[in-house]
Symmetry: C2
Subunit: 339 residues, 2 copies
């Protein structure tokens, strides 16, 4: 346990969304901050105020580079918090935006980012109602950080909780995996531009609106960002105390994403998406959910990728060759600053 | 106008809370984000949801050094957002906390900061309900950044707005000025420890609770953080379209703060407080407000420091020697990373 040693310091893997991030949260932050909201470890906190259920979610964006195929830190900062609210079953109502501006940042680049952020929010009819700007010498004029924090109204008939999972439930994803992570890694390494895949960075609210008739029976939604599909599903398996089985043949991956992952030696199951949802629902509802998702342009590639089984919190991958591999949370591969 | 030039870059003065910060907001951010909430330019946004009025406020903390006499970035991150809600007439209900951890930050120091933050929140019975941690190489292992965003319930009988100001109103402050700014500057410069003044960093909720009977008639509250008393009052004068007159003889200043300001050649009217409120109320209520404030340990030094006059948005200082000096917003003196 690295941080019980008081000589220890923060390293980049503490920010990869995997095992070391979990350890930092559980061993350093939770002993001090522990309360029922944080113990839920959801993407948003549920706040009961008079007759109203609100969802509240915060995220800081430190993505490097600031501009990447398919998006930029401004678009990502709006989509990221919107998606955390949406997969928590809430309709986003208001957003805050807080900027930490690096000394030396080009005003022209900042203007592009602010425009992108404003356009994304405007398309969603989501007002940015309060903000803050600070300036710091962050070592690099491209080290811009944006925090967005959102408030949403929880859909009254929604109850998303890993405790509702049962053996036989279907695991659905709304599209290809790993596009955002591959786009960021490829941009960062300066790979040949023609070959770069685009990030899937997009708001999920419209796509998931199509699920309205199914909402009361949907058991769990998450967006597989930092740590990717594998880390997100492993967290759900542990929370449910059941095994999740992924079918490798059912996973869809853009060939350019696959090529980049192979050339870099990273597993696409651990690369982030920023415009996909994982949905767990009963076997009976699964076909209807897939049908509804596919009617929306963002959901055309929706597919059942696995199922819930009796067990103790394992995540298993049934490989193309018929074998079974146990998957753990992302560990030891430093993939920070993805979002 | 520096940032209409697209060769221009962010400089530290953009973060001092003064004129350049205002220009950046008005000229770069507002054209994209403009809406009624942001146009109000208050410390918090007021959100009407069904029958409920909520206040929503965000702040990122980049203070350097992380530990200073009277506090640390953790305590400051809780008090700062709490105070923005409180001077907006709201009772803080929930807080989010998002950490950007620098690579190389000592886990021991992080633990002290998290403990301080949790203790401050616990004393206020204010739950930190959701959070985020990211890791970035920020150029220095002490470059830790914390965002807190808070939701409060607006006191139903409160209406704080510069448009309510009238000639004759009294300007009150709840204590000495410039303590926080002087403490930070002195710490940063490594001045002799015995001489360091302590920051006034403190939550204002208990002190301002004593004003409950006066709330409907209080016209304006602000905490004079970045940019100090002068910048905050100049902003109010401009928003009200009236002149504000400060009486130098009425301002209280800790002798050690005075000594540091003099030795550094900075005007204490532009140094931040992090535990004081400026209150503007009718002349008739002023004595009662002062009496109520002085009953509380944090308000013993409360005093009327000036008044509202007919005019066009000027801030005037009547000096000890009987002269009158016009005060502008902080401009050109780089005092960033105060909070």
């Amino acid at each position: 346990m690295e941080h019980s040693n008081h000589e220890a310091v923060i390293v980049s893997s503490h920010g990869d969304g995997g095992l070391m991030t979990q350890q930092l949260l559980q061993e350093l932050f939770m002993p001090f901050f522990n309360n029922d909201w944080l113990a839920q470890a959801d993407d948003a906190a549920f706040l009961q105020h008079r007759d109203e259920a609100l969802a509240f979610s915060t995220d800081s964006f430190v993505v490097s580079p600031l501009f990447f195929p398919g998006g930029d830190i401004g678009k990502l900062a709006v989509c990221g918090t919107v998606n955390d609210l949406v997969v928590s079953g809430a309709k986003p109502l208001w957003l805050s935006a807080a900027f930490i501006l690096p000394e030396g940042l080009s005003i022209k680049r900042l203007t592009r980012i602010v425009r992108s952020m404003a356009e994304t929010a405007r398309l969603l009819e989501l007002p940015i109602v309060t903000g803050d700007t600070k300036v710091a010498n962050t070592g690099d004029p491209e080290n811009l950080f944006i925090n967005t924090t959102g408030i949403g109204a929880v859909h009254p008939r929604t109850y998303l909780n890993a405790s509702r999972l049962e053996a036989g439930d279907a695991i659905i994803i709304t599209g290809t995996i790993a596009d955002h992570g591959a786009a960021i890694l490829a941009s960062r390494l300066g790979l040949d531009v023609e070959e770069l895949p685009a990030s899937d960075c997009a708001p999920l609210c419209y796509l998931l609106d199509t699920l309205e008739p199914f909402l009361p029976r949907i058991k769990m939604m998450r967006d597989p960002t930092r740590g990717g599909v594998a880390t997100t599903l492993k967290e759900i398996a542990l929370a449910a105390g059941l095994d999740l089985v992924l079918e490798e043949t059912a996973l869809k991956i853009n060939p350019r994403v696959q090529a980049i992952a192979e050339s870099l030696g990273v597993d696409p199951l651990y690369l982030a998406s920023e415009g996909r949802a994982l949905i767990i629902t009963s076997q009976e509802d699964a076909a209807g959910v897939i049908e509804a998702l596919r009617l929306h342009p963002q959901g055309k590639e929706s597919a059942i990728i696995g199922s819930v089984r009796p067990g103790k919190g394992n995540l298993c991958l049934k490989t193309n060759l018929g074998g079974t591999r146990m998957l753990q949370m992302l560990s030891g591969t430093p993939l920070p600053r993805i979002c």
